[in-house]
């Protein structure tokens, strides 16, 4: 069997899509999460409901949106509501199953920093800030993170906790009585990290060709492997076809990588 070639963003997107379940209500971001959701809808999760923090529910974008507030998300959507309503009636009420998160740093316990590198008052690098991620991380039932696997992105501890993962460990999150269960998986270009019983992110799967050593070298803490380290099935021809021909033919998000 010939091995199919694929880029790093394609690998990330396909593995993220596989985490979604049919019927999930997903708080979607632009870029790869948007592609992942649309891929899932065209494969195993036709009843996925896509929600955007701009207030759009059940979008049917006719083109790839550049921003989370693109007009193509609105025309033909099922519903559009105010920003307060999308956060209050949908997310805070507990109507969102899945949230996608990103950030400059993700630490050992899945906490995310999207605010500053360095000190808060005099930041070395000022990042965009929380947006909706503080609440998504707390209130969506499950959260997924898509990120390249780089050491600077995976420090032992985030400089600033924009969005709570398991904080100092699962017990602390449980004590905080947050609605959501916290980060369930981090999809990188090397594999998949999932929280263990203590809430620490451990490597549970490697993508075809990637090694544990690679993953450990590119992680800022002593990354453990799960007892049963799996290998993810390679992207299928159908998954790649949908991504390349239907979802991002101009390679706006799928360019780059190897």
């Amino acid at each position: 069997m010939a091995t199919l070639s694929y880029t790093s963003p394609e690998l990330l997107t396909i593995n993220a899509a596989r985490l979604l379940r049919d019927g999930d209500v997903v708080f979607v971001g632009v870029g790869l999460p948007n592609l992942a959701c649309n891929l899932a809808r065209r494969t195993h999760a036709p009843n996925l409901v896509m929600i955007y923090e701009a207030g759009v529910i059940g979008a049917q974008p006719a083109r790839l949106p550049l921003s989370i507030g693109d007009p193509t998300l609105v025309s033909g959507a099922l519903s559009v509501c105010s920003m307060y309503d999308i956060f209050a009636f949908y997310l805070q009420r507990g109507n969102v199953d899945v949230g996608f998160l990103g950030g400059a740093q993700i630490d050992r316990f899945g906490n995310i920093n999207a605010t500053v590198i360095g000190g808060y008052a005099h930041p070395k690098v000022r990042l965009p800030g929380s947006g909706g991620s503080m609440e998504i991380a707390a209130w969506a039932d499950r959260c997924y993170i898509i990120t390249p696997h780089q050491k600077r992105r995976f420090p032992e501890k985030v400089d600033f906790c924009t969005s709570a993962g398991f904080m100092s460990g699962r017990a602390e999150r449980e004590a905080a009585r947050l609605r959501g269960a916290g980060p369930q998986a981090v999809v990188t270009d090397l594999g998949i990290l999932e929280p263990d019983a203590s809430g620490e992110l451990v490597l549970t799967a490697l993508h075809p060709g990637a090694t544990l050593e690679q993953a450990q070298t590119n992680t800022g803490w002593a990354l453990k492997a799960a007892p049963e380290l799996k290998t993810t099935p390679p992207p299928s021809a159908e998954e790649l076809r949908i991504l390349r021909e239907e979802l991002d033919p101009d390679k706006i998000y799928l360019k780059g990588g190897e």
Binding site: G69, V80, M83, Y84, Q92, S130, G132, E135
Partner: protein
């Protein structure tokens, strides 16, 4: 005198140095033309509040209008960093006050509904709550637990762009409605700009579409294409190319200044700006019709 006045007059009359300004819009309906007019009239020491500062605040900060920003996501939506606001913050030249989207919008909702605060469920992301003393807690009188609250935001002036309004400012808005209503109700003064000024009968034909009632509006301005490079649903597209271009322009203060000289100070008003963009851009942003199915209110 009527409320229907020119944008220049509205800004002259209702935006003062030192004001807290809320130019509303979540990606959609961002009132760029009003931001540009504020730059042209050289307002100073403004506090610029907005969930997503977007390019309009980058430009206003570059023009020296602002002493402070209040925000929850300081980015160029879909592109990346908001370089000029970010540089000013990193250089310590600009004060800032930061929230999450929901706490920002909860502040505005408290302001709009006259409440002393709005509660939120816990997020446990304590770093921002520690960094910003506006976050407080109250004791839940039903469970004894702690509840995070934020105080009202009551801007001096809200700037809201809409698709269509009558001369009194009764306004129909559709597409992404963001925080337009909350900003208008929270603020002391409201400048409303509209793509179209329509007879009151059009507004009255669909009262559920009216998110802002005229009696809270101070000035009504007829400003077609007010939102460019943002967009107005059904009227013109988002100019994604410009959002990408600004990412280049804003890497260099000189280039940003040259942009302002040419596109803000170099034009009299939005009409001149739009004409200057030229027919190719007009064509690129043109949108085909897709009408809503009407509803029947019945004649009673």
């Amino acid at each position: 005198m009527g409320k229907l006045i020119s944008l220049a007059e509205a800004v002259a009359r209702y935006v003062q140095d030192g004001d807290t300004v809320y130019a509303a819009g979540f990606t959609h309906l961002i009132p760029f033309a009003v931001g540009h007019e504020i730059i042209r009239q050289r307002r100073r020491n403004l506090t610029l509040a907005r969930a997503t500062p977007d390019l309009v605040y980058d430009q206003m900060v570059a023009a020296g209008c602002a002493k402070k920003v209040i925000f929850s996501y300081m980015g160029n939506p879909g592109v990346g960093s908001l370089r000029l606001v970010r540089a000013a913050v990193e250089a310590g030249e600009l004060e800032w006050e930061e929230y999450s989207h929901f706490s920002m919008i909860s502040r505005l909702t408290a302001g709009a509904t006259g409440l002393p605060f709005m509660p939120m469920n816990p997020t446990a992301a304590g770093d921002l709550e520690r960094a910003n003393p506006s976050y407080r807690t109250v004791t839940d009188p039903y469970t004894g637990g702690q509840v995070v609250v934020v105080p009202p935001l009551k801007p001096d002036v809200a700037i809201v762009h809409v698709q269509r309004a009558d001369e009194e400012g009764n306004a129909h808005i559709w597409g992404i409605i963001g925080e337009q209503k909350e900003a208008a109700f929270a603020s002391q003064r409201v400048i409303l700009s509209a793509e179209e000024i329509v007879p009151a009968e059009v507004i009255r034909s669909d009262p559920n579409r009216t998110l802002i009632p005229g009696f809270i509006v101070d000035a009504v301005c007829h400003v077609p294409f007010c939102s460019h490079p943002s967009y107005t649903q059904g009227y013109y597209d988002r100019d994604n190319a410009f959002y990408l271009e600004w990412d280049e322009i804003s890497k260099d203060r000189q280039r940003a200044q040259a942009y302002l000289d040419e596109w803000v100070f170099g034009v009299k008003d939005r009409q001149e700006y739009w004409e200057k963009l030229g027919p190719q851009v007009h064509r690129r942003l043109k949108v085909k019709r897709r009408l809503s199915t009407p509803v029947d209110y019945g004649s009673y």
